[in-house]
Symmetry: D2
């Protein structure tokens, strides 16, 4: 099952007074992983905006927190393409502690293709969808 | 239906390059509302920690984003007690634009009662549960 | 000496693993205070942008941290207009713990008036400067 | 002149509605660089805390913003040891756009060695000071 993986080192600023990563930061880690996933496909958010004239706003975000992550932990974040709809795509994320291999958190982001002019949901550009499908297809032989 | 409401003014630092509130900040708004809800009940996180020797870590977070919120918008956030289990409570949140009355976002946080020593889930202190139940009971006559 | 004051309640998300407000958040508190200062003058960032066609980017930021601020502390932030130059204004900030009256932090932001088109520094709009001067004049009779 | 360098990719969450990195995030970039500097010396914040029983709170932070940094920019951050006092050390930071080589921002953090028990400033542990001095000595032959 192909997937995209990246690592994030927990910074002091990511922690809170419980001495663990503040839960809201996992959503930033998810998005950062999505950004690097696009980069691995050969483009970035900005290029998607200028090339296809769309934004990719998030319409849903979910995360289940299983184990705390602490300062200096090296986290491995795995992205898989969960579901591709006409105008939206759901990315699944799994966060592991790279040192202990424990699963820290799991969740998803549902991202919609929105016209930059009208803000309304429009079809995901064919070229982009192909790359995502190819990616998703590989995982479900 | 009783509920707890607070308002949050969107700050420049809450926005992102799409000129709307970054989605991760809604989770911070949820938590800030929960903090003020506790304060309205007569205590705060720290007092819960010192009095009952528990933390209240989040085990689940979800949000659906319906409309963008922009800089300077005054947001009204409504908290209701969704479900009280033995060791966990689910808070529901609704974010409205106070100017337009539009619903901006809806979601929840599931919070567990965890022993400060062992980190394991333990029963919600009776006194705290009573306050939450009272609150929840009121809404479901 | 006239000044503008606002209060900010320390949220859990503002803290770090040292169980105090992360130092970077004081800069967000400064800016939030500046935003409310503009609002008290009858406008906001966005209105400045649309009316005068300028941004107000920060060119300098400084803070000295004297005492830690903790979760749930109520902070009082005082803004004074330090210096008005042709194209820039320096805002001074003092953060106090409202409960103990201790000074927590002191610092400044230097903000420049920049053309939205070219990005270059341009004169502060006369009308805005007058309001700031009036404010500063009051304090130095 | 020896120095420590690291790179940081600008994430969407780092930006604000002016479509540039929010100024407060440069302070987080500074600290992240300091964290990686310690790591390059063979330890981390937590190990400093447990080994020497000290925290390293920031007592001063300054930054001058010269050029905007944008989404997806690759930033190179350079740390040099500016000044070593008995109980404090000043780290200097320079942020460059790795693509264009432009200087984006420059600033410093003054960090104090504080007893974990009393919170009071105490001498920087000899072993740590030696590493910093060695580092600083190298740069000023």
């Amino acid at each position: 099952m192909p997937s995209f993986k990246t690592t994030i080192r927990v910074s002091w600023a990511d922690t809170d007074a419980a001495q663990v990563v503040h839960f809201s930061n996992f959503f930033r880690f998810f998005e950062k992983t999505e950004e690097e996933f696009y980069r691995s496909l050969g483009f970035n958010f900005d290029q998607i905006v200028s090339k296809y004239n769309i934004w990719l706003p998030r319409v849903e975000a979910y995360c289940q927190f299983k184990k705390p992550a602490k300062f200096d932990n090296l986290l491995e974040i795995e992205l898989t393409v969960g579901e591709i709809r006409e105008k939206a795509v759901k990315y699944l994320f799994k966060v592991r502690n790279k040192g202990t291999a424990e699963t820290i958190a799991e969740g998803y982001l549902t991202v919609v293709s929105a016209s930059k002019q009208t803000g309304k949901a429009i079809e995901i550009p064919e070229e982009l969808k192909k790359q995502l499908k190819f990616f998703a297809a590989d995982r479900n032989p």
